[in-house]
Symmetry: C2
Subunit: 346 residues, 2 copies
DNA sequence: TTGAAAGCGCTAACAG
DNA sequence: CTGTTAGCGCTTTCAA
């Protein structure tokens, strides 16, 4: 059986409460040195470890936070979770992790389970509007921070990123490279997809390039989606074919690149491709991928810090983190990029 | 404030203990129907949710398990964790996740924290021998299941996979394809690396191919390692150059393939490549990668099931899960593979 | 069929 | 400086 305060008290010949005092106030003033030494010695000898549940029961604080995300089999989210963990550790707080795999009922269930477990707070990537009522209920009882996306009808703070701006930067980059027919592979029924599409549109507008709906292809975030969309694109008559495509994600872009290569199109010479996310693979592709770097781990880190603030002070601000255009070779030949970098450094 | 048993008791006009009885024994015999109804009604009305910590305190059971792995930014491990979660959910048990990022001190710390938190059991991917003494101590107090690799000096059961056999199958596959000079990119100071190297050696021996140390290159599991090892390999004089290489991981293989392509070598025609792991990317590469499929999610699922068994019965067996050769195009041209499949189906 | 009472291990006033 | 007391929310004998 684990040793308890009582055991130490007996061993040290003091009261339980004195033991508690010694153990909790690292530099306590209110304990005689001699006593302190005895207690510490006994604790050491009996290799005492506090019972977190008992402590939690009385302090109403578990040092446990819950995380609810759709999945981990997605390097994007796993990096975010990693970021959460990093800060959680600094705050010596543990992470209870739940992945609902895009199942609305599970998302709801996990949120509730987390509340029941008595976690101090929840970091949540909201996916289903159907769970808004539940979330409204929960956020009254427990601090919540939304990540990556946010239901604005909740009062809980969020940590997101400039998706729209990222899409704008990506598209602008292609336009500045001289492309006039820029396609977009993306999703129209998804929050991030919509924002990225919006950024794409804004760039076209600002650079006075007419919007051609034929150049927008529905495609999700998987490799296969990109591959398929590229196949569709290649069916366009030669004179309508775009010379560049902005993809909603790096995996999509990768699939597209493979598809283009298979069709005999050189990337970037005959088809420039830009992705979104800046996953590790972007740098490893045969033609390294130009993309938009999203704050993956940072989102997690900031969210955890905000949650902590919210738990302690009851308040915290939302933030929208910045994104960055990462220029590699899939959008331009290295000759061009060398010229560009000379211009920049010159 | 959350509603407690006391609130319900008052609302229903019964004792706290009766409430507890009703709520815990779904089909209890020992409560009058009328009473049961009143209690259930009150619980409903007050939207009661049990306080897990209080319950845990008295039952000495938290329905919490701990998972300690090196990292999540690794699709291999994130799939395993996903597998653990799947079964954990069925057992309605939550997962406390810790990633130590290959830091021995943290691994030790997390293991202890987990014990302190009062988790019912731990699933652990052991990484550092320096933590064996601690583990020996811990396994006396709390059920532990090792995954992916195992310290045999612990009595804790493990769930691993046939790495040696996988390496054997990969190498054998290349040999059967007619390759006589098969290189190996791998790690010599890592458990999995050693096993894979062993399997490679065994295949050579069984097929009476002399072992040439010049063909073994030290390379870790990252893309860059494969890329670098391939560069080294290409420095060999033409007559010594191997025609095939078995890599210790899919990322390594990917890096190698890119390196070969950049050097003008066609894969698989001039250089056959086989990986290990069967990550999602293996199927997406320009030349889909032949590889060894490891039970990633299954390892997690089985481990969680075993841990549960161990928690409940005190005993459970170790297992070594099987692996599978997945033949794609990086090891053989599609003509050959077509011929092969005809042979198989004919 | 129900309730009273003890206690899980810990913290936190309040006295001494 | 230290001990006494009460209680967190729940389960669980043991009686009634």
């Amino acid at each position: 059986m684990a040793t308890t305060l009582r055991d130490i008290a007996k061993e040290a010949g003091v009261s339980i409460c004195t033991v508690s005092r010694v153990l909790n106030n690292p530099k306590a003033i209110q304990v005689r040195d001699e006593t302190r030494r005895r207690v510490l010695g006994a604790a050491q000898r009996l290799s005492y470890r506090p019972n977190i549940m008992a402590r939690g029961l009385v302090k109403k604080r578990t040092n446990l936070i819950g995380v609810v995300v759709p999945s981990l089999t997605n390097s994007f989210l796993s990096e975010t979770v990693q970021g959460i963990q990093d800060i959680a550790e600094e705050l010596s707080c543990s992470v209870l992790l739940y992945t609902h795999r895009y199942n609305p009922a599970k998302e709801a269930e996990y949120l509730q389970v987390l509340r029941d477990k008595g976690v101090d707070g929840i970091i949540w990537m909201p996916m289903f509007e159907s769970n808004i009522p539940l979330a409204l209920e929960l956020e009254k009882e427990i601090p919540i921070v939304q990540i990556h996306t946010a239901f604005k009808s909740l009062t809980s703070p969020y940590v997101t990123a400039e998706h729209e701006k990222g899409a704008y930067l990506a598209t602008e980059h292609l336009i500045k490279l001289g492309h006039h027919r820029v396609a977009h592979f993306g999703l129209s029924d998804d929050i991030h997809g919509k924002l990225r599409h919006l950024g794409y549109m804004r760039a076209l507008t600002e650079y006075q390039i007419p919007y051609d709906p034929q150049l927008v292809f529905e495609a999700g975030y998987d490799w296969h989606n990109g591959y398929a969309a590229a196949q569709e694109l290649l069916k366009l008559p030669a004179d309508l074919r775009p010379t560049a495509v902005f993809c909603c994600g790096d995996m999509t872009a990768w699939g597209a690149v493979e598809s283009f290569k298979k069709a005999g199109l050189a990337v970037p010479e005959e088809m420039a491709v830009v992705g979104f996310d800046d996953l590790a693979i972007a740098a490893w592709m045969e033609v390294p991928l130009t993309t938009i770097a999203l704050p993956k781990a940072d989102t997690g880190r900031v969210a955890m810090a905000k949650l902590d603030e919210k738990i302690r002070t009851g308040e915290t601000e939302s933030v929208c983190l910045d994104v960055r255009l990462v220029i590699r070779e899939s959008s331009q030949s290295s000759r061009v990029s060398n010229m560009l970098s000379q211009v920049q450094t010159g």
